[in-house]
Amino acid sequence: MSHWIIAPVVLPALLAPLIAFVMRHDMLLARTASIAGTVALLVISIGLTGAALDGTVHVYRLGDWPAPFGIVLVLDRLSAMMVLVTAILALIALVHAVASGWDARGWHFHALFQFQLMGICGAFLTGDVFNLFVFFEVLLIASYGLMIHSGGKVRLRAGLQYVVMNLAGSTLFLFAVGTLYAVTGTLNIADLAVKVQEIPAEDAALLRVAAMLLMIVFAIKAALFPVQFWLPNTYANAPAPVAALFAIMTKVGAYAILRVHTVVFGPHVESLEGLPGDWLFPAAVVTVAVGAVGVLGARRLMPMLSFAVVGSMGTLMLAISAFTPDSALAALYYMLHSTFAAAALFLFADLLLSRRASGDLLHAAPQTIQNGLFAAIFFAAAIGMAGMPPLSGFLGKLLVLDALRDPAEIGWAWAAVLAGSLMTIVGFARAGSALFWKSTAIPDLDIAPGGAAAPLAPEVTPAGPLNVAPVMVAIALLALLSVAAGPVSSYLEATAGQLHDSSDYVDAVLHAPENETSKMETMGHGDDQDDGHGDETDEAGDDEHGDAEGAAAEEEAHDGAAGEGH
């Protein structure tokens, strides 16, 4: 496979320092570079999705080291799709940031944005658990920088909650990775999938702990109960384009669970006895409830949208928790949907709130200029988030309900999703009524008799086409997801199938194809000591060769160590 697989990581990784250190004195230059880079990322990700379309699992061996010893990037349908979604969302958020001027309200927006993209793409593409940790760090620190962009007391305080909670998660990630390494001796996902199955139930205690701890780590990112507390304040106080981009951040956690807890700790692993799903399910049910309660009870717009995100993550995790191909399909569809729905809502909120005198309080205030336009956008975006037709949320909800048919789960799951939807609908209806309808009953100050009342905020400008375009595109994508549900779902069906039948994935990662000349085939191989890998990583014919070379290498290595170099 060509080097394009790593382009989504390398491109922003090289662009970001250039923006930060070469172009930081000129906003136009930084904007141009950032948008150009994101467009390039989009083009690349379309190409990658095309490459993954036929079901081939492409493996990129960093440093040309064979798996599982080096780090691999894996491009399959799932990771390609996630990178594509990231690129689309990034472009939407970025255009909004530029059009609204958010990027100029603080330092290093574009550099942090590109680093953030690098972190997200890296997390989606990696085939290694420790590397996933590294990219979690990249995206955490970049997202923290973005979240507190332009500062302000409330935002900094919320940012602290965000970063502290997620650093705690990172610490736990290290414990989990350590435990996993102690049990299996490897961190490559494909290799783990093989090793984990070999562990007998009588010796699975540590493995189970590792699976559970990893799940909690990912759950923090995915904002699952009881570790969702950080999300509402964070999203509510983040700059709008950042909150929109964060729509994919929660999905990183969901993706990680979907990937790791299907391929490595999936239901096929007998010693785990379905442990992840058993705990994910109740957590997801409560998460849906938390989101719904938050939406219904919100007195401000931004927290309301944030709780809606929590609720949608609950629904998504409900679908994931069943760990079947059907439920994975539902989860993936819902994931696509909820990403753009959340983005649309946050971008809308920015359009409105930057033109509204009384901030995001959900009460009647003199109507904004373009009341009708904003009402229409809100109506559409809220329909999307609440899961009403004709946008994709409804189909997503149907898919999720349809996938959760286990008699033990159906009652809770359906009650949670349906009652949650009702509460969300009522909450959104109340909010929309207060924001857009009730405000028309308030006399316009501009036309007050005598002209005594000054215009509320003279600097308020109407939203131009460029301001509105990003949110419109996000909503259009929801409509497109709905109309093109057939083709999309067939791609997702194949994706879910590929995820659940991980043999291709494992084969592709652990068995280098003939034409790929790995460094090891020419210079040595250390498999002879390793009981697990010998027969998987090597063709039989290569064994002798490898052993001979390996022995030679060993000698040389000892030489080097003894003689302190040449």
């Binding site: 790593i6 390398v10 990784a13 320092p17 930060a20 250190f21 070469v22 990129y60 960093l62 010893f69 080096g70 780090i71 942090l112 680093f115 420790f130 590294v134 990249v138 620190i141 507190i148 500062g151 909670m165 102690a182 049990v183 001796g185 139930a201 009588e202 540590l206 189970r208 699976a211 570790v227 507390f229 006895e273 705990w279 938390v290 309660v293 938050g294 009870g297 919100a298 007195r299 927290p303 109506f379 189909l395 149907l398 898919l399 309900l401 048919r405 349906l418 009702l422 609908i425 009522v426 009730k438 549900a485 057939g486 460094k519 000591q529 697990g532 070379e549 390996g550 170099g565 040449h566």
Partner: protein
Amino acid sequence: MTEGGGFLPIIAMLPFLGALLPGLMIRAGRNVCAVTTAMPTILALVMLAILAPSVFSGEVIEAEIAWLPALGLKASFFLDGLGLLFAGMILGVGLLITLYARFYLAGEDPMGVFYTYLLLFQGAMLGIVISDNILLLLIFWELTSLSSFLLIGYWKHLPEGRQGARMALAVTGGGGLAMIGGMLILGNIAGSYELTEILAETEAIQASDWYLPALILILLGTFTKSAQFPFHFWLPHAMAAPTPVSAYLHSATMVKAGVFLMARLWPVLAGTDAWFYIVATTGLVTMVIGALIALFKDDLKALLAFSTVSHLGLLTMLLGFGTPVAAGVAVFHIINHLTFKASLFMCAGIVDHEAHTRDIKRLGGLASLMPVTFAISTVAALSMAGIPLFNGFLSKELMLEEAAHTTWAGNPQIVGIVATIGALLSVAYSFRFVAHVFLGPVRDDYPHKPHDPPFGMYAAPALLAVLVVLIGVFPAATVEPLVNLTAGAVTGQEMHMHLKLWHGVTPALFMSVIAVVGGAILLGLHRPLDRLWIAMPRPEAKVIFDWIVRQAATVSGRIAEGTHNGAISRYLAIFTAATVVLGYLAWAGGGMAPATREMLPIPPVVGVGWVMLLGATLAVVVMHRNRFRALVLIGIIGLMISAGFVYMSAPDLALTQISVETVTIILLLLALHFMPKETPRESGPALRLRDAVIALGAGGGVAMLTYAFLRRDFSTISDFHLENSYSGGGGTNVVNVILVDFRGYDTFGEIIVLGIAGLTIYALMEALLAGPASRRLRNWDFSRDRSRDRHPLMMVVATRVMMPIAAVVGLYIFLRGHNQPGGGFVAGLVISIALLMQYMASGFAWTQGRQRIEYHSMIGSGVVIAGLTGVGAWFAGQPFLTSAFGYVHLPPIEEFELATAALFDLGVFLAVLGAVMLTLYSLSRIARYAGETVNIGPMDYDPSQPPEEMAREEAERREEEG
């Protein structure tokens, strides 16, 4: 797809496409707008007319478009008698409403928006009645909830409109959600989501264990939509909408959707006891309650609204009886109700429009002022009352007949009696509509002098009134074929109902007579009864509903805000406790093989280190309120960990740990300068106890975990790394080769983390200094903890001496890194410590003036160099970060190794150095904001300079600051 099937998707889509037009066409004027709105409706009606003959000949027209096969969702439509009747009603009345609304809406009402909503709603209704796939039906079902929300809230400035719209959405939308569940179960039992296939699975469905849940969930949807008791309350409040909306939603469409669905699913759901007792009883109760309330409503539209509730109850009851004839009667009454109720709504609208009030108590005597309206209203009202020669009589008679034959819980009379009471009340309110509005003396206190409206406004109700009479007199010639066709579609069997005016002397005739006479008497007694009604305490549904919603919102808000209030210590406590508990449960569920490694003996040195580690940790817990002290103690912990690494023969880790420790402690010390030196006591003893328990649990858990895996043998991929470090990576220091080669990609990520951290700190500092924090800093009084000699001579000299040594050590560590403990990371830290010392000794400004490289660029170039080193491999056709190395022999010096890894390591070095220094830069900016003076000389007291010069410099400095 059957012949003509192609029309069905077009019919379904036409209103939605048409909805795009009115908003634009309104710019060409109101008439053009109305005509444009009518176009898609007319077009759809024409297509329906083309299909009608085939339907009448018994064909079922079908069409199917694939949509979401994974779910079984198809855009599939079918048209049979039931669909045809409803589609015709929806389109026909839609057309009349379009006409009526053109004249009804006032100049200031945005007409384009109204017509857009109307067409959206029409499309959604049409979709419901011609959907084959029940998931598609659900989509249209929810769309009616949404579009009716917009229609009801059309007058958005009126609180009644907004509240009515929200209530309708909550109730019908909620019912729709329940129905989603019901439909999914139904489809699951039947094995298909296609209605045409589901309808053939009666036995399987009724025998299933899931029948009752499905039935209840679906009925929740239909009852809410069709305003059945106890969900009836939203309907009257939806009357806040403009009258055309009320006429449309509550005569022909929205509320009939529930009835439609019960009729549609009648073959598979009806006939069981559960169906009978739930549906028939609900219908009966609704019929009577609706009629009773209607009688005492003074608002014309409210009277009609409750009468609609009552008639919907009647239809529901008929369907609930479960007999084919009753279902046929229901179909007939659907048609009749449509004609007289739409007509009455429009008349009420005319009265409101002309007299500017709909309050019955302020009206009366309009007969002579508005003769045309009076005539139309009378015809329609008499039909509603069930007076012979009008169509309402026919269906009411048949209904009473069916009721008389129905046994409820072993009691053969009760249904008949209650139904007669309902009919009686219905007669009373129908008479009242005519008597109290149009009859009586002409008054002189109308809010506006009423007269008949223009023709365009009364054309629609008049047409409907004509239909009322035509059907009433010639039922067999007009609607009998349609009724039989539709009833056949509902029941799934051939129906041969004979509709005629005279049925002979039957029990139903007596019941009718009782109802008419009783109704007339009741109207006569209206005044005293009304007083009694007003005096009587009645539960007001809206108040209860509003209370529930408000309470739910308030309680929810309290829960959500209370639990998400930013209490980070609680978040962490929950997280930690959950992790410990879940981790333990996971552990407990699996077995553990016995330990395979012996315990090692504890040498005394290690024991001492261990005690120091524990002691320092405990001391941090005890003394953490004093932040400086805590920092020192943390330093001890870090050192002991480094010592541990040394003991375990991990010199690289030890080196890294020590240098990281040093840098972070120094930076933390600098940061602490700007913060309170004591942590305030914020939690009480109970909280601290909680935290202590959780912390001990977590610590114990981690210890157990570590202990468990330290005592096991396991093989890892590290063996490979040991093996191939030299041959494949060109270095003998495996740790370094892992860092820059085997897992160089991780390192690449980590230096980027450092770089981002530097950027973030810089951006954060800029944001802080722009905010209120900067004011606080400016007012900060540092004088009491400031040293008199901030830049002591000894320190300056010592750091200057150390600088070249440290630089050489850093270079040495960097260069040997590939083969010996060291590397770019440690080297970067060592150099930055050396630089940090310069800054500490002589102050930031002085030092800054003496360095040429910008830290921003240093981080950037570090990341770029590391990245480009990785990219370089591409040109050799190798993957990112593939290393290459070779040995070079230059004559004067020994043979040495050149490796691309070294270049990568250089990137690491630069990024680390840059990040640390940028952090320092940010901290010193804060210091300057806080009023720290900027020093020009390297030290405060320079012995090499004469004192006068010192004084002069001091003066210069002051000048600059001032």
